[in-house]
Symmetry: C2
Subunit: 276 residues, 2 copies
């Protein structure tokens, strides 16, 4: 039995999202149980409740020994505002859990990984259970919770540690107190709904900020808005340009991103050998 | 006579933009001459020519003793890609010039200010001469070139050094080799066409990156796109929140931004006492 607690450190989900995940788990993953914290449905302006409400719910889930894993309900924006405080208040029970999410929830994965708390993984989130394509991405996470590694990013070799982030999330956290040490890691980045000039700009910022990493992989760059002019370089060319310029090994693509193809990337060395 | 060279380190302008500025200068500023580098009208994907073309034009203008000032034609995106190389190749003549621009051209102002080259100033750009409102902002810069300080940001006191940046520009350059030392400066930031959650996210990133500054002023936050939900805090509240959280003195508003009200902010101590 894997007991999974779900909270929303950034933006809220609806009860329909929750029902869709509960139905999927009941039908296909009888050894899992999912528990939605009531805070998932709270709302305060942009956020799923104010900072203290979101922080409290995250700590309720992380610090409760009844749960094996904490799954972040959805990204959006906002987990950065509570990440430092959350990590500072986590107990021994929190340290033995698995934490899964991506996109904006990368701030939490960063802070947890930096603090050495639990097993972090980049993976799709409960909100995606509401769509057919999203359900397949959600199944990869649920399988991984059950020790089935078939949904892992295929390049993971269990030898070189890895971490995966949304590009703007990593760019924004790179100089803050929640930045983990990514030395010797393969770093994977993906982006959604950003212009290619903004992707270029983030690589400019990020490529000067990273330590000596093992290499960079580019995930999917999806939903690029149309601009008044073609940028003139593809996302792959942009990544290659800045990696070359900054002396970072460019390793090619990774199957992560804001799409149904999004794979699981456990942080560190938790590769194909075994789940959390 | 002030001889002003104009080049486009980011995106191109049209010949109509150039003609509008030339007409304005001829009609109202007979002691100025403006010379557009042909590169202003070049195009390569997103940019006003490829990196080498833009770099070459900037150096043509900066290193030529015939010019007193270099005025960046327009922002957009791209000056970050050539800023380090440009500063490394500037000669003695470049060191005695005035450099004016803002928005994306803040990367150049940062690199120049860091290197102690010339007198940098945040100010409107030639592209704005094409619109009635923009012309008034352009006149402030032209007046300042002539030693008339009436268009300066009113809070400048000539005692505390200042610098002004587009928010995402400063956020992106904060950890790169072109970041100047802003210790003890009043730092002013403005933004355009960004969601309030993105403004919040940039303050999160930036407030951990700044040295001990004299304080922060918030310029105009314009053309904020509509989001599916109200953010819940105003731009002023966001700035205040992050300044409070990071231990930065919040000094209120500044009259800078992507609007006709944009004022001139000379970098450093070149306040009301005298122009460049």
């Amino acid at each position: 039995m894997t007991n999974i607690a779900i909270c929303a450190p950034a933006t809220p989900i609806t009860r329909d999202h929750a029902a869709a995940l509960e139905a999927l788990v009941a039908a296909e993953f009888p050894t899992h149980s999912v528990t939605f914290h009531e805070q998932c449905f709270a709302s305060s302006g942009h956020f799923a409740g104010d900072d203290l409400t979101r922080l409290g719910a995250l700590l309720d889930c992380a610090n409760d020994p009844a749960f094996d894993a904490v799954w972040f309900a959805r990204g959006g924006y906002g987990s950065n505002r509570i990440a430092e405080a959350a990590v500072a208040r986590m107990n021994a029970s929190a340290r033995s859990k698995t934490y899964v999410g991506f996109s904006d929830c990368g701030y939490l994965l960063a802070a947890l990984y930096r603090a050495g708390i639990g097993q972090c993984a980049h993976g799709s989130m409960p909100v995606s259970a509401g769509s057919e394509g999203g359900r397949e991405a959600v199944r990869r996470v649920l399988r991984w919770f059950a020790g089935d590694n078939s949904g892992l990013e295929p390049s993971l070799d269990g030898v070189i540690p890895a971490a995966a982030f949304n590009l703007i999330t990593l760019t924004m956290l790179a100089r803050t107190p929640i930045m983990p040490d990514l030395t010797d890691h393969v770093v994977m980045v993906e982006e959604v709904s950003e212009h290619l000039y903004a992707v270029d700009r983030m690589f400019f910022a990020l490529s000067s900020s990273l330590p000596r990493i093992a290499g960079l992989r580019l995930g999917a760059i999806t939903a690029v808005p149309e601009n008044y002019v073609e940028f003139g370089q593809s996302a792959d060319e942009i990544a290659r340009f800045w990696c070359d310029r900054a002396g970072i090994r460019y390793l090619g693509r990774a199957e992560i991103g804001h799409s149904a193809a999004n794979r699981v990337v456990p942080f560190g060395l938790a590769g194909p050998a075994g789940a959390a």
